[in-house]
């Protein structure tokens, strides 16, 4: 392992033209599988539960339909002409097609075609935030006025695996544009990546594999703390400068622990900690957490968001809410409203909805 060079302020990603979030939108499918249902089937009800319940997509839902829902919510908040979007990028690890983009369908559905970039992004759970960094670059360079980045997943959990308790569904869409139009400015971002094989799914494999406890210390905790620390150091900020923080959330414990390690309180992460009630939404996890925060944030609030994607890397964002947020809150369904829209299912229905029964 090579020793990274010390970080300086020049390592921050900061566009020439200040940029920010013009609109945001969340989406969570309505079905919920309680973790105790998974435990009932696989462990006789024994053992600790990593979350309360997870969101499960319905039979007619996938990353494309869910991305469209979130994108429409973002458009509703932004109130812009869709033809002005010069990029529609969707990050996910459950794109319905191996070849054929999710993003063209989403762009078509919201009316952004044909004068636009469109592509699918893959970096495990940080594909969406990577697209967000790219959108910052596209807008910040002046090449585009608006760009959309979506993080959305219908996560795959092998039946009986520890991940089956948490592998949820949901995500969020963001429209990046000039800072002066934004409901929150993105002051800077910083990414920290290494080759760390903690979790993967090879082509033609149905379910991902993971390195058990290896996914903790050398993967999740290391990358998030390194990215967050470097960002705050370069930005000259500390945990006390942020009203809110959002961390990637594969289970309830990890984001709580990493928040503590970095010096953030449980109050600071509370509105963005959605994993206990919707599960791990993978590429959507940090991004939908941020929608939960934006739904309650006030002008002047500063937010730290740090994603984590296996393989591995973290994107950290330094965000400041503007006075334009308040009027855009009510233009679309809030994240908590989606969470409250809840139909509980049992393991059998889950097996049917997720196509886990092999009929032939």
């Amino acid at each position: 392992m090579t020793t990274p060079k010390p970080q300086t302020s020049s390592t921050l990603l900061r566009p020439n033209k200040p940029v920010g979030i013009i609109g945001y939108g969340a989406y969570v499918p309505r079905y919920r599988l309680p973790a105790k249902e998974v435990a009932r089937v696989w462990t006789g009800g024994k053992g600790g539960l990593p979350i309360k319940e997870k969101a499960v997509p319905g039979l007619d839902e996938d990353v494309i339909t869910m991305s469209i829902e979130a994108a429409r919510n973002a458009m509703a908040r932004a109130q812009i002409d869709p033809v002005e979007l010069r990029a529609v990028w969707v990050g996910s690890e459950s794109h319905p097609y191996a070849v054929k983009p999710t993003s063209t369908l989403v762009a078509e559905a919201i009316g952004a075609v044909p004068n636009t970039q469109a592509a699918d992004w893959e970096f495990a759970c940080k594909a969406g935030t990577e697209a967000l960094v790219a959108a910052m670059g596209l807008v910040g360079s002046g090449m585009a006025h608006y760009a959309m980045a979506v993080g959305m997943d219908t996560a795959q959990g092998k039946p009986g695996d520890a991940l089956e308790y948490t592998a949820g569904a949901g995500g969020a869409a963001y429209i990046v544009g000039p800072a002066e139009e934004s409901l929150a400015t993105i002051n800077a971002s910083y990414s920290y990546v290494t080759d760390t094989p903690d979790f993967w799914r090879r082509e033609y494999q149905r379910y991902p594999e993971h390195g058990m406890r290896f996914t903790g210390e050398p993967a999740y905790f290391k990358h998030i703390t390194e990215a967050a620390t470097a960002l705050m150091q370069a930005a000259g900020t500390g945990p006390g400068d942020y009203q809110w923080a959002v961390f990637h959330q594969p289970n309830t414990k990890f984001p709580q622990r990493v928040a503590g390690q970095l010096g953030f309180s449980m109050d600071q992460i509370a509105p963005g900690l959605l994993v206990p009630v919707i599960g791990n939404t993978y590429a959507g996890a940090a991004m939908i957490g941020l929608t939960g925060v934006l739904d309650v944030a006030k002008s002047g609030d500063r937010i730290l968001m740090v994603s984590f994607g296996s393989g591995a890397g973290s994107d950290a964002f330094d965000i400041t809410v503007t006075d334009k947020l308040a009027e855009r809150h009510g233009r679309a369904t809030s994240t908590q409203e989606y969470i409250a829209r809840r139909t509980e299912i049992d393991y059998a229905a889950y097996v049917r909805f997720r196509g886990k029964l092999q009929m032939k």
Binding site: M1, K46, G47, G211, M212, R213, F214, E217, P218
Partner: protein, 386 residues
């Protein structure tokens, strides 16, 4: 015969060292031990290791470790006897010095579990059973312990929490050992609530796998540097005894014959009686093995070993303190490094350097390293010299 002394000791923290390789772990322990000895130059290296072939795809650890430690050129081999590999390597080092063929021997035990995870580790550990007749039928080392423990509980009519004293004692002692994997004392309720992993073996009856390395430098007393700074600790006696590999070949499931033989022979060699032993580092890979070792060594009558844990006799202030630095349960089961960790820990006790876990005026320590269900038992008696 001249005294064979432990001139240098070194150990790494036991635990999950995802970012540290096998060779690096070994080197860290070696460096500490060589420095501790005042810079003695080893002429031979004995590496205790159990699983590198399966978990790290690495054989030939003698040359690898010698080379990485800057000792290229010296005699260097691996000694393998499953969980007793470390004890067996120590014995080879002792024999080499005792024979007069080697003046300074380096013994390092090293194990790196975390190059693989989950079933791969279980499969690798199971190679220490009788592969054709046990592992191939689905038997794991934990299942072996479960069969023996079930029989023990049945024969001697034990309560469900009969073994809890072993884990409670180990964790209390682990709290005082900065090299232990787990440094938190536990209450009996934690044991009572623990999940079963192979009934009746619960999570707290089984020692956790841990990466780690420990090293000792052995030499003859007269070869020590003049300004040698530590109280002298010698190996007063040692023995290595074997039993059937497969459980089904045992005459009696509840007697660790190899422990009985090795303890007896080591005591005879040291010319002391069992009553003179001040503390006992047993091989508590499973709490049932600790109970059976106490019985086979002679500290308890047959069927009574568990009571020494239940009544506090094995605590630091008890009649026969055991697992004084946490044992395998709290320090961690460091595979083929375990026997060398025991030697380092016993040397710390006898030097008076065991910190909060120090046993007062200890003179003799018995250390015992087991391979499987005592298919191999290696005993050494360490003595603080006057």
């Amino acid at each position: 015969m001249t005294d064979i002394v432990i001139a240098g000791i070194g150990q790494t923290e036991a635990g999950e060292h995802w970012g540290i390789s096998l060779r690096e772990l070994a080197y860290k322990a070696i460096k500490t031990a060589v420095d501790d000895s005042g810079g003695l130059k080893p002429q031979a290296l004995f590496v205790g290791n159990m699983l590198s072939l399966n978990l790290s795809n690495q054989a030939h650890l003698g040359a690898l470790v010698a080379d990485y430690a800057g000792l290229t050129g010296i005699e260097a081999v691996t000694v393998e006897a499953a969980g007793a590999s470390g004890g067996a390597a120590l014995r080879q080092g002792y024999i080499a010095i005792a024979s007069g063929m080697v003046d300074v021997a380096l013994v390092v035990g090293v194990e790196k579990f975390t190059d693989k995870v989950g079933p791969d580790v279980e499969a690798a550990v199971s190679t220490s059973t009788d592969s054709d007749y046990e592992a191939m039928q689905g038997m794991t080392t934990t299942a072996q312990a479960a069969l023996i423990m079930r029989r023990y509980m049945h024969e001697y009519n034990l309560p469900a929490d009969g073994f809890s004293g072993f884990a409670v004692t180990a964790h209390a002692n682990g709290a005082g050992n900065p090299f232990a994997m787990y440094r938190k004392a536990i209450k009996p309720e934690i044991y009572a609530r623990a999940e079963m992993i192979s009934e009746p073996v619960n999570l707290f009856d089984a020692a956790p796998n841990a990466d780690g390395a420990a090293a000792v430098i052995l030499t003859r007393r007269e070869l020590l540097p003049k300004d040698f700074p530590h109280p002298l600790v010698r190996i007063a006696g040692g023995s290595n005894s074997s039993d059937t590999l497969a459980l089904h070949d045992r005459q009696d499931l509840l007697v660790f014959q190899s422990v009985q033989t090795a303890t007896h022979q080591a005591l005879k060699k040291a010319n002391i009686s069992l009553e003179q032993i001040d503390f006992f580092e047993y091989h508590d890979a499973f709490s049932i093995y600790a109970a059976l070792s106490l019985e086979a060594a002679g500290f308890a009558e047959r069927g009574q070993g568990w009571k020494l844990a239940a009544d506090g006799s094995i605590t630091l202030k008890g009649r026969i303190p055991c697992a004084t630095m946490g044992g395998l349960k709290a320090r961690g089961f460091t595979g083929g490094a375990t026997g060398v960790y025991q030697a380092v820990e016993a040397a710390l006790q006898l030097r008076g350097s065991a910190g909060p876990n120090q046993i007062k005026s200890a003179r003799y320590g018995l250390i015992q390293s087991l391979g499987g269900p005592a298919s191999t038992a290696v005993c050494h008696i360490l003595e603080k010299m006057a």
